[in-house]
Symmetry: C2
C-alpha cells in the first residue's frame, strides 16, 4: 500500500487541507472553558500545604487546629487516600500504590520540596490558604540530593529503603536497562576512529501556560465527578480510582480544554485531593496550582548524564555505538524515559553493533513526567554532537555522512524494533536539497549546524462514535483530549470517508462516562489512533446507510456503492442519493444512524525530523541568537499541514529553549531558585526567528491515510543542531546544556586560556 | 411470541426486579443538578417582560431606555429571532414559523396575558427585573375570549386572521377532524336506548414543581450551548434552531435533571430568549420562570366541551357511538390533543358504528401543551360517565357491561388503528376479581365508582451507545431524559441481555452533540423505545465479545454462545469466560468494545387502566373525600414494578386533582386569578389515601421483553370513576369538572330544588 500511495498519491478532498480548527474561535476569543473556569453551586476552594524541605521524614501531621477553625470545611491528608489493602506491607502491589499515593499526599516522608502533605477546603481560597498555617507538620529534615551524578555517588543519601543494589546496599538507581546488538567489541575493532564524549543536561519543565487544576464533586452515593485539564481524562480517572481506592466505573472525568501539556499533564496531582475534600465537606471543591506549585511539584523531565562512544571507518561508516545514560526519575522510581530514549538514540542510522546501558535514578526533585518525545532530545543531542565532531574529523559533509549510515526499512533500532517504512533518508535528502543548506553565511561568530531527530511515537486504545444528524452533518464523539487541533485532524479523516466538508462534522471530546476507553493524548498518537477510529466509524456509517438505501430501493446492498459523498446504484444511474439526502430520511427508514469504532491499532510509524540552524554568538555576553532555522519532519500524510507546521514550529522552539536557556536552578538544600516564568527562561516570540517548517510526506503503511504522529520529533533535533552551529560559530563544543550566556562565556574563556597555555 | 411469553413466562433476572434508581440518592439528597443550578463564569440573568393583556395589538416596542441603562447588558425582542425568510409573507411556512416565534417573543400581537414581549439581561436578576419597566410597549387592547364555547360563538373576537371558516369568515376553529366507521345512523337504529350527554372540563396545568428555565452560551463562532430542563433536549434543540434560524448542528443542548414535566416541558420558551441575550451580551445568560409565569405562560392542557351519544341494545351491546368535542388550543392553533383523544375515547370497547367530530379551537389562553395521556382523560371521562348511566338504566353490573363490549386483538379503535394484543379484557377481569370491587361500603354519602382508561402511548427514534469498561461494568449512553426512573428501566434491559447486575450499568443522558437523535420522553415511550435500543446495543456488545473470544480461542464465532453473563464454547467446557473476565481483556484483543443501536420502532402497545374508587361526600361543604382507590394498569412486562406502581399512583392523583379541584379561574378580561399553587389547588399527600396499584402484565409482542408504556393511562380513569362514585354517593351526575365543593353544593341544591319542584 505504501508504494502505491507514493507512486500515485491519492487525491484527497479533505485530508491535506487547512480548515480553521473547530475550537479555534472559541479559544482565541477566550470563551473556551478550561479547568479553572468550572463553577459549581456551593463550590469550595482547596489549598495544598506543601513541604518546605527537599527530603524529610514526617514525624506527625496534626490537623486538629485547622479542623477546629470555623471557616475550614474539610482537611485532607494521606490517611484519606486508598488503604494499602490486604496486600502485605512491603509487597510489590502495596509499595507501588504507596508511591503513587505519596506523590499525591505524602505519608511518612517527603522527597522533594513542594510535595503535597495536606489540604484544606473553605468557601474562599484566601481563607483556605491562611488555614494551611494551622496544620502542624513535624519534619525530621534529611540530607538531599538533586542531580543524577550525586545521587549515584556511593555516599549519597538514599531516598527509598526498598531500592537495593546488587550487594544489598541502599541505592538511588531504580532501574538499569541494557540493549545489546551485534558484537560491540568487534565493532570498535573495525573502527578507524573512536570518539567518546560526555554530556550533561539539566532538568527542564514542559512550561505549559495553564497550571494544573482539579474540581471534584462527590455525591453521597459514592459517585465522583472530576473536571480537569489533562492530556487524558481516562488516565486521570484510572489514576484517581487507584489513589482513592474506587472502581473506575464510579468516577466520571469531564475533560476541560487544556492550556498545554507536552507530557506534563498525564499524572494525577490535585484531582484526588479535590475528591477527598469534596467527600468530607459534602460540597464540590476546586483546586488550582500557582506557577510555583507547577514548577516545584509537577513533573519536569529528567536531568541527565550521557556518555556516547562511536566508532567509524575512515570512509565514514559507523561500526559501533555505545551509550551510557543516567536519567533523573525525581522522587519516585521508574519515571525516567530511558526506554523511549533507547528507541530514539540511534534511530536515523543503521549500526550493527550496539550496547546501551540506561539508568533510572531517583533524587530529591519532583517525580519526572514525560516531555515531548520523552528522553529523545537528551540522547540524540549527545549522538548528533559526536557525529558532528566525527564529520569534522573525517572532513565529510554531515548530511553525506548521515546518508551513508541511514536507517532503512528492515534495519533495526537500538531498542530492537525492526523499522517499517520510515522517512530517515527522505528527511536527510530534504536537508541537502533545501536552499538553506547551501546559503552563504556572513560575518564571524556565526555558524551553521545540522542535527537529526526522531520520535518512535505511540498508539493505544481509542473509541469514536459518530451520529448522523438530520441536516447531513455528523457529530463526532471521541475520547482524545484535543491539545493541538486534533478535533479537526480527526474530523478530517471522518469527513474524507464520508465525502462531506469538515465543517459538517461537529467534534466533541466526551467525558469518561460517555465515550469508550481512549488512551491519553500523547506519543503523537491521536491523529493516528483516533483518526483511524474515525475512519472506521465513518465506514460503519456508510455500511448502515447503504443498508437503508438498499431497503428503500429494494435492491441488495452489494449493488450499491458510496463514493464522493453520495450513494449510487452501480448500474441504475436513477438511483442516487447525496449524504445530506440520506441523512434527512433516516428516522423514517429505521431510525438515526450511529457509527462506532473501537480499536487498539499497531502500525504507528516513527517520525524523523531534522534542523538546519544558523546562529550568531555574541562573544562579549555569550548570548546565542538564532538567525535562521529550517525544520524538517516526516509527517507521513500531513492531515492538516498548517497544524503540522505549528507542531514543528512549537517543538522546535521548545528544543531551542532546552538548548539555550531552560534549567532548574537548585540550591544546596534542594530549593528551586527560579520558580517563576520570569526566572525560568523559556523562549518568547522575540527570542526566535520565524521557524520555516518543511513537511516531508512518507505515508505510513500502517494507517489507511498514511498518517504518522507529528507532535514530538520536532523537539529533538534543535539541541544538537544549535550546539553544532555554536561550535561552527565559536569553535567550542558545548557538551553541557543549556548553552546559556554564562556557559558560553565560560567556555570561550576556557578556550582562550587553553589556546594561551598551549 | 406473545402467547409463548404468556404460556411460559421467561425467567428474567433483572427485568421485574426493584433496584434503587441510579439517580436516586443524588436526587433525594439534593445534589442532582437541575437547569437553575447551572452556574457559568460571567453568567448574566435575564428577565422577561410579559403582556398584561389577554389580547392586544402591539403598536410598538421601544427598548431604547432599557438599552441605555448602564446595567442592562442586552435587550431581546422578536426582531432578534429568525427572519421569516424568503417564503412570501402569508405563506404556510412563514406563517407557521411566525406562530412558533410569536409564542417565544410576540411581534405584532399578544394573544394571552403573560405572553413574552421582550427580555433584558443584567448581572443581577433584580436589576434585570427592574429594567423591564424601561421598555415601553404601546398596546391596542382587544376583546378577549377564554373558553371554547365563547370562542366558537359567531360574534367571538377572532384571534388569527388566517383562520377562515367555509364561508371565508373569521373563525377561531383551527381544525375540524372527523372519524367515521360503520353506519352511525344504522347503529343508532339498532339501539334500544340512546343516551346523549354534554360535559365540560376546565383548563388544567401539569403542575410540575420545577419551573421552566434556560441557560444559553453563544460563542462568537456561532455555536450555541443550551442547558435546560426538558422532556427532550433534541426537541429543545430543534425548536430553538427553528426560532433562531440556526442549523440544528450549531446547537448543543445539555439536558439537566427535570423536576416534572407531564407533557408540559416539550416546547421552547426561555431557551431562544436566553440565546439571543447571550449573543447580544457576549455572556452566558440564564432565565428562570416564576410560578406565575409557569401558570400564565406555559402550556396547560385544553379546557373542553364534549357531547357523547351512545346507543345500546337492551342486553347491553353498544350499537353506535357518536362524539362531538371541542378542545382549546389556546393562543395558537393545532395544539389541542384531539387526535390522541380519538384514539382513547372508545378504546376499551368494540363498536361497529362510530362518528366523531373533533375541533381544535383557539382562545386567549396560553398555547396548550400535552398533559399525560393528552386529551384522553377529557373524553374518556365523558364516555365512562355515560356508560355508568347506561349500566344503571339497564341494571347491569358496570364491569359485566364493559366485558360484553370489550375490545380485543383485531378490533378497531375510533381513530382507525387495528388493535394488536391488548389488555382491555384482562384489566376488566382484574377489577372484577379484586376484593375492593365487592368490599362493603358503609355510611350514607359514600359511593363507589369504576372507570376505564387508556393511552395509545407513543414511540419514536432512539439511540443508545454502550461502552464496556475494563472492570466489567458498562456505561450506557442514551438520549432519553429521565423523568420517572427510565435510566434504571433502560439499564435493566441492557443488564438482562448481558447477564450482569443493573448496578454494573452506569447510565448517562448525554447532550445532543454526544448521542444520536432521540425523540422526547413522552407518550410513555422511553422504556419501550430506548429500552429496545439498549436491548439491541447489548446484543451488539455480545456479538463483538463473541468475536474477540473466537479470535483468542481461534475458533469460529458460531461455536460460541453467550448466556447468563458468560461466554462459552458450545462443546468445549474448558473455554469459558465471564463478562468481567472478557471486559478485562479487551484492550489487548483489539481495543475497547462499544455497542450501539439506533432505531425507530413500531409496535408500541397501548395501555389500559381502570379504577375502583370509594368516595364520601360532605353534603354541607361539598367536599369529596377519596376513601379508597384501587388503580389497575396493564404494564405489559413491568420492567421495574416499583416505578410502574409509582407511575400508577402519580397519574391517579393527577386524575383526582383534575376531577375534583384543579381549574384555571379566568377573569372577564382574561387574567388568571389563581396563579399560585396555593390557589391552583392540586392534591397533596393529605388529600388522598394510599393508592393501591395493581399491575396487570399482558406482554407487548412488539417489544423483546414485552414492555408497554406505563406513564399515562393511569391519569385517565380517575375522572369518570370519581364522578361515578360521587353519583353513587349523592345521586347527582357531575357532568362538569372539577367537582369542587362549590360545584357539589350547587349540584345538591339544584337536585333538591328539582326534587322539590318535581
Amino acid at each position: 500500500m505504501a508504494s502505491e500511495t507514493e507512486a500515485v498519491p491519492r487525491a484527497y478532498k479533505v485530508i491535506g487541507t487547512r480548515p480553521i480548527r473547530h475550537d479555534g474561535i472559541e479559544k482565541v476569543t477566550g470563551q473556551a472553558l478550561y479547568g479553572a473556569d468550572v463553577t459549581l453551586s456551593g463550590m469550595l476552594y482547596g489549598k495544598v500545604l506543601r513541604s518546605p524541605h527537599a527530603h524529610a521524614r514526617i514525624r506527625s501531621v496534626d490537623t486538629s487546629r485547622a479542623e477546629a477553625h470555623p471557616d475550614v470545611r474539610a482537611v485532607a491528608t494521606s490517611a484519606d487516600l486508598a488503604a494499602l489493602g490486604d496486600a502485605p506491607d512491603g509487597s510489590a502491589a502495596a509499595l507501588s500504590l504507596k508511591l503513587v499515593r505519596d506523590n499525591v499526599l505524602a505519608s511518612d516522608r517527603v522527597l522533594y520540596r513542594g510535595q503535597a502533605v495536606a489540604a484544606v477546603a473553605a468557601a474562599s481560597p484566601h481563607v483556605a490558604e491562611e488555614a494551611l498555617a494551622l496544620i502542624d507538620v513535624d519534619y525530621e529534615v534529611l540530607a538531599s540530593v538533586t542531580n543524577v551524578k550525586a545521587a549515584m555517588a556511593p555516599d549519597a543519601p538514599v531516598l527509598h529503603e526498598h531500592l537495593l543494589d546488587d550487594q544489598g546496599g541502599g541505592t538511588n538507581v531504580a532501574v538499569h536497562e541494557q540493549h545489546r546488538w551485534g558484537d560491540i567489541e568487534a565493532g570498535f575493532e573495525q573502527a578507524a576512529l573512536v570518539f567518546e564524549r560526555e554530556f550533561r543536561t539539566k532538568t527542564v519543565h514542559q512550561g505549559y501556560i495553564e497550571p494544573q487544576n482539579g474540581t471534584a464533586s462527590w455525591t453521597p452515593d459514592g459517585r465522583l465527578t472530576i473536571w480537569c485539564s489533562s492530556q487524558g481524562h481516562f488516565g486521570i480517572r484510572d489514576g484517581s480510582a487507584r489513589v482513592l481506592g474506587l472502581p473506575v466505573s464510579q468516577i466520571n472525568v469531564v475533560p476541560m480544554e487544556i492550556g498545554g501539556g507536552f507530557g506534563g499533564k498525564l499524572k494525577v496531582y490535585l484531582e484526588p485531593v479535590a475528591a477527598v475534600l469534596s467527600r468530607k465537606s459534602g460540597h464540590p471543591v476546586q483546586l488550582t496550582m500557582s506557577r510555583i506549585d507547577v514548577l516545584e511539584a509537577t513533573g519536569p523531565t529528567s536531568g541527565s548524564l550521557v556518555r556516547i562512544k562511536l566508532g567509524v571507518t575512515t570512509d565514514g561508516r559507523i561500526t559501533a555505538a555505545q551509550a551510557y545514560y543516567a536519567f533523573e526519575s525525581g522522587a519516585y522510581p521508574g519515571a525516567a524515559p530511558i526506554q523511549a530514549a533507547a528507541a530514539a538514540i540511534l534511530a536515523p542510522y543503521q549500526i550493527d553493533n550496539i550496547l546501551i546501558d540506561a539508568y533510572d535514578v531517583v533524587d530529591n526533585k519532583p517525580m519526572s513526567s514525560a516531555y515531548r518525545a520523552p528522553g529523545a532530545p537528551i540522547v540524540v543531542y549527545a549522538v548528533e554532537s559526536v557525529i558532528d565532531e566525527i564529520c569534522e574529523a573525517l572532513e565529510m559533509d554531515p548530511v553525506e555522512f548521515r546518508l551513508l549510515n541511514v536507517a532503512e526499512e528492515g534495519s533495526r533500532r537500538a531498542d530492537g524494533v525492526m523499522n517499517g517504512r520510515i522517512g530517515a533518508r527522505e528527511t536527510m535528502d530534504a536537508i541537502r536539497a533545501h536552499p538553506h543548506y547551501s546559503a552563504p553565511l556572513d560575518d564571524k561568530f556565526t555558524g551553521r549546524g545540522v542535527g537529526m531527530g526522531f520520535c518512535r511515537n505511540n498508539t493505544g486504545p481509542s473509541s469514536v462514535v459518530a451520529h448522523v444528524l438530520s441536516n447531513g452533518t455528523v457529530s463526532l464523539v471521541e475520547g482524545s483530549v484535543d491539545i493541538g487541533g486534533s478535533r479537526t485532524a480527526v474530523a478530517q479523516q471522518l469527513a474524507e470517508v464520508l465525502g462531506i466538508p469538515v465543517t459538517d462534522v461537529v467534534p466533541t471530546v466526551a467525558d469518561t462516562d460517555t465515550i469508550g476507553y481512549t488512551s491519553s493524548t500523547g506519543g503523537s498518537g491521536v491523529a493516528f489512533k483516533t483518526g483511524m477510529a474515525a475512519y472506521e466509524a465513518a465506514h460503519d456509517v456508510v455500511r448502515q446507510i447503504v443498508g437503508r438505501a438498499a431497503l428503500v430501493w429494494d435492491v441488495p446492498d452489494e449493488q450499491l456503492e458510496y463514493a464522493d459523498g453520495a450513494l449510487r446504484h452501480k448500474s441504475d444511474p436513477e438511483l442516487r442519493l447525496s449524504f445530506k439526502e440520506i441523512a434527512g430520511m433516516l428516522d423514517e427508514t429505521g431510525g438515526p444512524v450511529t457509527g462506532r469504532a473501537t480499536l487498539n491499532p499497531t502500525g504507528h510509524g516513527g517520525s524523523y525530523s531534522a534542523d538546519i540552524v544558523d546562529v550568531e554568538v555574541d562573544p562579549e555576553t555569550g548570548k546565542v541568537q538564532i538567525l535562521r532555522l529550517t525544520a524538517f519532519q516526516d509527517a507521513g500524510t500531513a492531515v492538516h499541514p498548517a497544524y503540522v507546521e505549528g507542531q514543528i514550529q512549537g517543538g522546535t522552539v521548545q528544543g531551542i529553549g532546552w538548548a539555550l536557556n531552560e534549567e532548574y536552578f537548585m540550591s544546596e538544600d534542594g530549593r528551586l531558585l527560579n520558580s517563576s516564568l520570569l526566572d525560568y527562561r523559556m523562549p518568547t516570540s522575540l527570542d526566535v526567528p520565524m521557524i520555516e517548517p518543511v513537511i516531508i510526506e512518507v505515508p505510513n503503511p500502517g494507517h489507511p491515510f498514511g498518517v504518522r504522529g507529528v507532535g514530538e520529533a520536532n523537539i529533538v533535533a534543535p539541541l544538537a543542531a544549535v550546539a553544532n552551529a555554536v561550535y561552527a560559530a565559536i569553535g567550542v563544543r558545548m557538551n553541557d546544556i543549556p548553552m546559556s550566556p554564562a556557559a558560553i562565556v565560560r567556555a570561550l574563556n576556557e578556550k582562550t586560556a587553553g589556546t594561551a597555555s598551549s
